[in-house]
């Protein structure tokens, strides 16, 4: 019992002066899988530096960076005016793809049609020359960066209907669309796999070329956030992400590397 107390006390003292090992990255669950991949390669190249990557969400990442809970924040949306003051590093652009079950005959949708399905105006696939079945739209949760981008790019002034299923990650949305024939959802282009398909919007497919040339307009920035000028290990990591090697990893995962955007 006494031991427990001493332990508690020492923990408390230790808690007041946190010394944490390695680089902690936190934030957007959309950025997480990509940065995780980069971090894996980074740690192979620099075995002395550990990188911890976790989700939490864009907002949590921004807050965590502001109060120092993490060293680097990730965001999949631009900062709000109230959140300014952080250093922002653009690492890539991410296209948002509207996805359907792979057996769905439809390959092309207009912005209005997508908006109609998510706002609850289009209730059956029949209205889209499909089968006479209900549309099951799957959206992201309130506050999600992907949802915010989707709302501003596709929904315009209309609100996403309450009847949509809600999931809290790209993967979870994809999982439902992959198993639900009537489903429609939206996720990062880089995460679309063979079990579902990304449809063309107004005739333009979300391919890498179309994204780079901005023919496919639905994309958003992936940002790393810093509280101050990066030093030491943190700066090594940022440099690695922006190096040709780091950018190649992001590019091969289906993102548009920042260097290419700048080059355009």
């Amino acid at each position: 019992m006494r031991l427990g107390f001493i332990l508690l006390l020492s923990l408390y003292i230790a808690g007041c002066t946190p010394k944490r090992g390695g680089i902690i990255i936190a934030g957007s669950t959309s950025v997480q899988p990509f940065i995780e991949k980069v971090a894996e390669h980074f740690m192979e190249k620099y075995p002395g530096i550990t990188v911890n990557v976790q989700g939490g969400g864009s907002t949590a990442g921004i807050l965590a960076t502001l109060n120092g809970t993490c060293n680097i924040g990730c965001s999949s949306r631009d900062l709000l005016p109230s959140e300014r003051g952080l250093r922002v590093v653009l690492i890539a652009l991410d296209g948002i793809a509207v996805i359907l079950h792979r057996d769905n005959p439809i390959d092309n949708l207009s912005v209005e049609q997508v908006r109609g399905m998510f706002s609850g105006k289009i209730l059956s696939w029949k209205d889209l020359d499909g089968q006479d079945k209900d549309v099951i739209p799957v959206t992201r949760e309130e506050g999600s960066g992907t949802r915010a981008s989707f709302e501003s790019m596709i929904m315009g002034d209309e609100e996403i209907s309450d009847a949509c299923l809600v999931q809290d990650s790209n993967g979870a949305v994809r999982e439902i669309i992959a198993t639900t024939q009537q489903g429609v959802g939206y996720i990062s282009v880089g995460l679309v796999d063979e079990r579902e398909k990304a449809v063309a919007i107004d005739g333009i497919k979300p391919t890498l070329t179309n994204l780079i040339t901005e023919k496919y307009r639905f994309s958003r920035p992936f940002l790393l956030l810093l509280r101050e000028e990066p030093k030491g290990d943190i700066s090594t990591f940022i440099e690695y992400v922006l190096s040709p090697e780091g950018q190649e990893i992001l590019g091969s995962s289906g993102l548009i590397p920042a260097t290419q955007v700048v080059a355009d």
């Binding site: 921004i62 949760e141 309130e142 506050g143 999600s144 960066g145 009847a163 299923l165 809600v166 439902i176």
Partner: protein, 277 residues
């Protein structure tokens, strides 16, 4: 002297539970309650949940929580009571000794595993049979019902066993069958224990999060049928906490406060009932 110090120290330690409870209450309420007044009660108990655009209505989530809880009880109570009665009155002591711990083991299975079974088996099954997305009140009710079974079986079983032997003997002596004895004597006598078990199960169902997120679909709309998707208070918190900031986060803590109040209320009732006997 040594004894005196020990007593003081132990008294201090003994307050750890109530202290934790107070800290939890304080922090959840401190984060959540101001928003309720800022948004106004009318807004807070409305149907519009758009926390990034000033809509803080939790009504549909409260209704959702109640629906899955009632659904879970509809599954859990009959099976739980049947199991308890069968174990306590209709089976040999060997079966009792083996089955009771086995059923209690069910309580140890992590909720994510239940949710997973829901995703891979129950949801596709419902989708095949009834159509629709499969993520539904029905799926959540069945999975939650299974999850609260051990609580109900275990507590009801103990309550049945606690009924004095003389009651049974008295009833048999009057020529009643076992089943008649159960219905007319044992269940009424064990009523308070059984109700306490059900209330604790109810608390577990209303507070479950991960399994519900995985299988309920989480649509905000109040479900029109048991095949529709549903959103509970708990799933809202877990879904949105990661991305929430400012008033949005406060709104999630407000959801937590309401949930907390419901749970404490249920606990007080359960304690009242158990203490009465």
């Amino acid at each position: 002297m040594k004894d005196k110090i020990a007593e003081k120290l132990l008294l201090f330690i003994a307050f750890s539970a109530i202290l934790s409870l107070s800290l939890i209450t304080f922090f959840i309420f401190q984060q959540g309650i101001p928003l309720i007044f800022k948004a106004g009660l009318g807004n807070f108990f409305s149907l519009r949940w758009a926390p990034t655009r000033g809509g803080f209505g939790i009504l549909s989530m409260v209704v959702g929580s109640l629906m899955v809880t009632i659904g879970a009880l509809a599954v859990g109570i009959p099976f739980g009571l049947a199991g308890a009665i069968f174990l306590a009155e209709f089976s040999s002591s060997t079966i009792q000794k083996t089955l009771k711990p086995v059923i209690e083991l069910l309580a140890g299975i992590p909720s994510v595993v239940f949710g997973f079974i829901g995703i891979v088996i129950l949801v596709p099954f419902i989708r095949e049979i009834f159509g629709g997305p499969g993520f539904s009140v029905l799926a959540a009710s069945i999975i939650l019902g299974i999850m609260i079974l051990p609580t109900i079986v275990s507590i009801s079983y103990d309550a049945l066993l606690a009924v004095p032997k003389t009651y049974r003997e008295g009833s048999y002596a009057l020529g009643a069958t076992k089943w008649q004895t159960v219905v007319m004597v044992l269940l009424p006598a064990a009523r308070s224990g059984i109700v306490a078990g059900i209330i604790l199960g109810m608390g577990r169902a209303i507070g479950e999060t991960m399994a519900v997120i995985m299988i309920a679909g989480n649509a905000l709309k109040i479900p029109g049928s048991i095949l529709d998707s549903v959103r509970t208070l708990t799933s809202t918190i877990a879904l949105e906490l990661g991305y929430a900031a400012g008033d949005h986060r406060a709104a999630l803590f407000a959801c937590g406060s309401i949930l907390f109040l419901i749970i404490i209320f249920l606990n007080i009732i359960a304690t009242r009932i158990t203490n009465r006997k």
